[in-house]
Each structure stands twice: as C-alpha cells, then as structure tokens.
C-alpha cells in the first residue's frame, strides 16, 4: 500500500524565488529563514519519498476568477510554470503522478469532495517555490508531484473544517492505493499576513506559533476558526493556513515533530517551517 511518511509546512512566497536566484541565502535578512531548511532537506534525501502531495493556492497564473475552483487536483504526468507577470524566474517542468492522482480523485468524489480535475494546470510560485526550497538548484525532477489547489482568494472559500476533512479523505485515499509508494505531503503558504488595504502588513507571531503547536498535537482545534476569524486574527491572507490544515488532515496515523523553524518577517509574512514524521494506521 502507499504510505504517507511525513508532512511538511513551508512558506511559498515569491520573494524566496528571487532570493535563491540571486544567491542571497546567507545575507542577514534571509539567513534565519534559510538556516531552517537543511534538516528538512536531509530528511527528504534520506527517506526519498516517491510522491509529494502539495497543497497550495494559485495566485492568478492558472486560475482566474472567470472560473475559480474551490478545490482542484492535477492528474497530469507533467506540470509547467510560466510567467507570473512580476519577474520571478520560470522554473523547469515538474513531474506528475497520473495513476495515484486519478485514484485520489476517484476516491475524493466518492467521499463527497467534488474536485475540479485538471489534465493541464500551470503551477505558480505556490507550488514551485517549496519544491525549489526542498531541492535547490531545481533538482526536484525525480519526485512526482500531485498538486492540490485550494481557493484562498475569493469568498466563499472552503472553511478550515472542510480543508481538514479534505486532507483526511486524501489520507484515506492514499492508504487504499495498492502500489508501494512513499508519499510526503506539503502544506504551503502563510502564515499570518495581509497584503491589501490600510491594514496591510499585519503579522501575528503569537497566533502563528500557537497554530504550529496545534498542527502537531491537536489539529482539529484549528477547525473551530472560520476564514473570517483567520482574516481578523492573522490577516486577509492568513486564510492560507488552510493549506497547512489540509496537509495535517492527511496524517491520519501517529505524528512526531522532528523539526521546526519559525521566522518573521519574510517579505510581509510569518514563515513556519515544520517537519512531521508520520506512521500510517493499520488498514
């Protein structure tokens, strides 16, 4: 059976792509952020997951508000990045995993999650920045990626209790896949931030740290928040916490925290890196 070996939370902001492209990792501004990553990279290189299920939100590369999926899943064998309009370097293609993607899509719809299923899907910084953070130098081609995209832009958007349930359903779907695959799940984005309005710039360090604690030991407690609660407490784009909650939902067995690095600010955000090891429950 396919086995989820761990979950990772990470930032995905575009400024990281520029910092890496320009070799700024060791500058005083960036060092406290990038210094968190080697233990996570080491774990990935040691455990060698075959597949990454990656939760992100598209920021207007593939999806416009002409047709905005609440939840979308990619089922392709390859995904491409493209010009996002503001000058971050475009990166090489990302490898997909069609068979497991279709299995998850079938299982989700059966389970009551009516996904938008995508055979073509341009992937933006929400997906590409985390891959390049984990395998610098664009060395992610060997890993198969299943993109799961969550609407975090336009209300109504799915509530934390729903994204957590989506994660749980994906966890069950993976468990019911016969092939022996090692799967890791990434929840990308956040944490607290607000880009728009007179309230732009708010970061809530205390809330972010509480969320990281809860993601380890009591993720269901985070599902008591609505997206409006999150906007109020953690900024309008603090709703990106949904991707971290969805990731944690996938971890349906036992979880152990192996590594954490919180740093703020990175660009306009609080950045929470966390590595959770996961043991699948008995079938």
């Amino acid at each position: 059976m396919a086995n989820i070996i761990g979950g990772i939370t990470t930032s995905h902001i575009p400024a990281i792509a520029n910092a890496m492209a320009n070799g700024l990792e060791d500058t005083p501004y960036w060092k406290p952020f990038f210094d968190g990553y080697p233990p996570v990279r080491d774990w990935l290189n040691e455990k060698k997951p075959d597949v990454i299920i990656l939760f992100y939100n598209d920021h207007g590369l593939e999806f416009f508000i002409d047709k905005k999926p609440t939840f979308a899943i990619g089922v392709a064998d390859e995904y491409h990045n493209a010009d996002e309009g503001w000058g971050i370097p475009t990166i090489p293609p990302v490898t997909g995993e069609s068979d497991l993607s279709w299995h998850i899509a079938n299982s989700l719809v059966e389970d009551g999650f009516d996904m938008t299923i995508c055979q073509e899907m341009k992937v933006d910084h929400g997906l590409t920045v985390p891959l390049n953070l984990m395998w610098p130098g664009h060395n992610y081609g060997h890993v198969k990626v299943i993109p799961v995209c969550i609407n975090c832009e336009q209300h109504p958007m799915p509530q934390p209790k729903r994204t957590f349930a989506l994660g749980q359903a994906i966890g069950r779907a993976v468990q019911s896949f016969d092939d022996d695959l090692k799967v890791a799940v990434f929840g990308t984005g956040g944490m607290s931030h607000q880009l728009d309005g007179e309230r732009a710039g708010i970061i809530n360090r205390e809330f972010d740290l509480m969320c990281l604690d809860k993601l380890v030991s009591d993720p269901e407690d985070l599902t008591k928040y609505s997206n409006f609660d999150l906007a109020e407490i953690a900024g309008a784009q603090g709703v990106e916490l949904n991707m971290l909650i969805a990731m944690r939902g996938c971890l349906i067995g036992d979880v152990k925290e192996l590594h954490r690095n919180y740093h703020a600010p990175i660009s306009n955000t609080g950045s929470g890196l966390m590595l959770l090891e996961h043991t699948m429950p008995e079938k």
């Binding site: 207007g60 002409d66 732009a200 710039g201 600010p265 306009n268």
Partner: protein, 115 residues
C-alpha cells in the same frame, strides 16, 4: 449578497466585489503575458478601454491609488501583477496603502516579528 464580515482596513473579495471588479481584475490578469504588459505601457487609456474598465477603475489606475483599486473590486492577486509591471515590491505596495514609506513599512514588519 455580501457574505463577508467587516474588518476595518480590509476589503474582502466576496461575490459582489468580484462582480464589480471583474474588468479591472481581468485586465490585471492579462499582465501574466509580456506582450500584454507592453501593450499597456504603450497606451494605458486604450488598454482600459479594451477591458471596459469602469470610470472608477480607470481613475484609480491613473492615480496609482491601490486603496481605490481595491474599493473598485480589485483582487490583490492581480493588482500585484500590476505592481510588478510598475517595478514595485509588496513592501512598496504596503507603504502606499498604509501611508508609510517603504522603509517605515519594512520596519513595521520587523517589529511584529520580534520576540
């Protein structure tokens, strides 16, 4: 019907705002494409007309008034592409919206990250 709550200093992109902002957002979404960015730079007024922006949206664009763009239904996702076209960072945009200089805005961010 609006589904959102009122958070001061925050303009949420709910259904009615997304409907109102559609031409502005569609225009800014086009800036993913380099040829579109050049077309805009060559003749902004013609580009507003091409996407049938409302008068409020044109006015906000002409004044580079980010808050007015948001009030006209702009989504920060696409407005960020317009900011990129102008060579502005998200800290520049933060400063413009909060009445701070970019440096003051950056210092505000740093202060909140302190333990």
């Amino acid at each position: 019907m609006s589904q959102t709550v009122n958070i001061p200093g925050t303009i949420m992109l709910d259904g009615p705002m997304a409907t109102k902002g559609y031409p502005l957002n569609k225009m800014c979404y086009s800036f993913n494409n380099a040829a579109a960015r050049n077309e805009f730079k060559e003749d902004e007024e013609a580009y507003y007309e091409k996407f049938k922006l409302t008068e409020d949206q044109r006015d906000a664009m002409r004044k580079r008034d980010v808050i007015a763009m948001l009030e006209a239904g702009g989504s920060i996702y696409y407005l960020a592409k317009f900011a990129g076209l102008l060579g502005l960072s998200v800290q520049d945009v933060g400063g413009l919206q909060t009445g701070m200089s970019t440096e003051e805005f950056k210092a505000f961010l740093v202060k909140q990250g302190e333990v």
